[in-house]
């Protein structure tokens, strides 16, 4: 992660480049961060202050934890967080495992119908998933899975697969063939080769993980339709209770959704590190 600048010369041009690079990054970081910071500081303010002076930092007069108090006094947000983590974690693991296996098969083996199966596995992202709501709900009722986390995990796994297979196949096609051939000559089984390839596409796996988990974590629709019971609520669904017909409790909305950002950011930091690891490990092997 350190900048090992092994450039031939470190003249003016080099320093100008360093400054320009960081200036651009800082400028866009400000654009990215400003609205997020606004959300966070306003979550610590009273309602009057949110709308009276939205851009001020909370001060002694406007500082208020009322949003966080509402969140933790009424509903079981600790349980909601746990539900969100279970659903996101299990779905993500299933998507990564199933998709990388399928992508490996599609990228590595030439069999009849390969291209067609690849297209079939991508068709799902071309139709708005909400279209299937009633059918999915009917299936879950028939399976007795309504108001269980399983219903969400199954739907999210299915929903995450097309994109994951699509991206991983593209990346796996770029893995050089020599390595696999060498392993085959050494007598490695096809399953062993799959496990050999996985670390090589680590950056892609990290990317796909990020891709997959964000819509799952932030989804409102399927928790609402499939598992809206008190025991199975996710954080995002739990926060909806503060959005009323005629009045929104913005303090509580900002507080609950600010908290909801934290776990997903932690997961992002973990997965985005794979981008860098993939590089170094791939170079060593």
């Amino acid at each position: 992660m350190t900048a090992r600048a092994r450039l031939p010369g470190k003249g003016w041009g080099h320093w100008a480049q360093v400054v320009a690079t960081h200036a651009v990054l800082l400028a866009y970081a400000a654009v990215a961060l400003f609205p997020v910071v606004l959300v966070v500081i306003n979550s610590f303010k009273s309602r009057r202050a949110i709308f009276g002076s939205p851009y001020d930092l909370p001060n002694a007069e406007t500082f208020s934890l009322v949003g966080y108090q509402t969140v933790f006094s009424g509903a079981r947000f600790d349980l909601y967080f746990l539900n969100s983590l279970i659903v996101t974690g299990v779905s993500l693991a299933a998507v990564l495992l199933f998709a990388s296996m399928a992508a490996h098969a599609l990228a590595e083996y030439r069999f009849r119908g390969n291209a067609l199966l690849g297209l079939y596995l991508a068709v799902g992202i071309m139709i708005p998933i909400r279209l299937g709501t009633v059918s999915i709900l009917r299936m879950m009722v028939a399976l007795g899975l309504t108001d269980t986390l399983w219903s969400l995990i199954l739907v999210y796994t299915a929903q995450g697969l097309p994109l994951a297979v699509f991206i991983l196949t593209a990346f796996m096609r770029q893995v050089p063939g020599d390595l696999k051939d060498a392993a085959r000559i050494d007598g490695a089984s096809e399953y062993r080769i799959y496990r050999l390839i996985l670390p090589l596409v680590r950056p892609a796996l990290g990317t796909v993980a990020v891709f997959t988990m964000i819509p799952i974590w932030n989804d409102l629709w399927f928790p609402l339709v499939l598992a809206s019971g008190e025991r199975t609520k996710t954080v995002i669904l739990g926060a909806q209770i503060f959005l009323g017909q005629y009045v929104n409790d913005w303090n509580a909305v900002l507080a609950s959704l600010t908290l909801a950002m934290v776990p997903i950011i932690v997961l992002y930091v973990i997965f985005s590190r794979q981008l860098i690891r993939g590089l170094t490990q791939g170079a060593v092997k």
Partner: protein, 306 residues
């Protein structure tokens, strides 16, 4: 490529879990609902098969067609803004993040990605607040340049609402192409770049001459994913402009048109058959885009192999 071998069970094992879960919980429910697009409710509330009549109605009936074309037109504009702003910006940020001279990479990588993890409820809230002529600071910001008279109720005017929302969507999603480009860029072996440097190429030349051609497949993937994502987009517009996609349907895209029709809104009853027909049209448009990409990709692949 193989000689006669025993049946390749391993291929089946690799493909089965994904195919089964995906078929059962995605393809089946989607097809089960999509078939509604070939039915119409009769006077006694039973559905009768009508073939492609709904598609004809959607594309030619004066009650439906103007909405469809409006949504398609808006959707292409929405897509164009993403291609012209989001993807170049994502590429630029990824290039800077993968540069050897950049410090605090992990921090930047996280900060630049923050908007993408934000719940859309918060994004809608905060951008409505920032852009609001009442609470907002777009006026103060323009005032810095003496241009406060240019301030507008951006989200409330037919002329500006869609472009404004497209840019908010770019702000929200730019982290995704950035990450995809970054994953491709860090995969390029250092030796290639070192070699070019030794030959005296500057950073600009190294990027466009060596790194960019090597990540071309990713450019294609980002393009097609943007297309798929944009033509399925829904959440942001629904959150800020509600199902009416106002003002006067200026921000109506296929996703909101579908939702409003399929599920209904306020007094407007749900219309599952026409809603499924809209979904059918969305499917055809996105499929065309993906096939175009796959076709171009296969052509390129063959060129390389030849």
């Amino acid at each position: 490529m193989n000689k006669r071998k025993p049946f390749p069970w391993h291929v089946v094992v690799f493909l089965a879990p994904a195919t089964i879960v995906y078929t059962a919980f995605m393809i089946f429910p989607l097809l089960d609902s999509l078939r509604f697009s070939t039915f119409a409710p009769g006077p006694d509330r039973t559905f009768t098969f009508v073939g492609l009549a709904n598609y004809q109605r959607l594309t030619s009936d004066p009650n439906w067609a103007p909405f469809l074309w409006n949504a398609i037109k808006n959707n292409f504009l929405f897509f164009a803004v993403h291609m012209l702003v989001q993807n170049p910006l994502g590429l630029l940020l990824a290039a800077l993040l993968s540069s050897q001279i950049t410090r605090f990479k992990a921090l930047f990588r996280t900060v630049l990605f923050l908007p993408t993890v934000l719940s859309v409820v918060l994004i809608g809230f905060i951008w409505r607040l920032i852009l609001s002529p009442i609470w907002g600071i777009s006026g103060d910001f323009l005032g810095l340049f003496g241009l406060e008279h240019l301030n507008r109720p951006w989200l409330g005017l037919e002329s500006t609402a869609l472009v404004t929302l497209s840019l908010v969507s770019v702000w929200q999603w730019v982290g995704i192409p950035m990450l995809l480009f970054l994953a491709a860029l860090v995969g390029i072996p250092d030796e290639l770049i070192e070699a070019a440097r030794v030959d005296g190429a500057n950073a600009w030349r190294v990027f466009w001459g060596i790194r960019f051609p090597l990540i071309l497949p990713t450019v294609g993937i980002v393009g097609v994913l943007t297309f798929v994502g944009n033509f399925n987009a829904f959440d942001l517009i629904y959150t800020t402009q509600r199902a009416t996609a106002g003002p006067n349907y200026a921000t109506d895209i296929l996703g909101t048109f579908f939702f409003r029709t399929f599920f209904g809104m306020q007094l407007q009853a749900a219309n599952p058959t026409m809603g499924a027909t809209i979904a059918g049209i969305m499917f055809l448009i996105i499929l065309a885009g993906v096939l175009l990409y796959l076709f171009a990709y296969q052509m390129r692949l063959q060129r390389i192999e030849l």
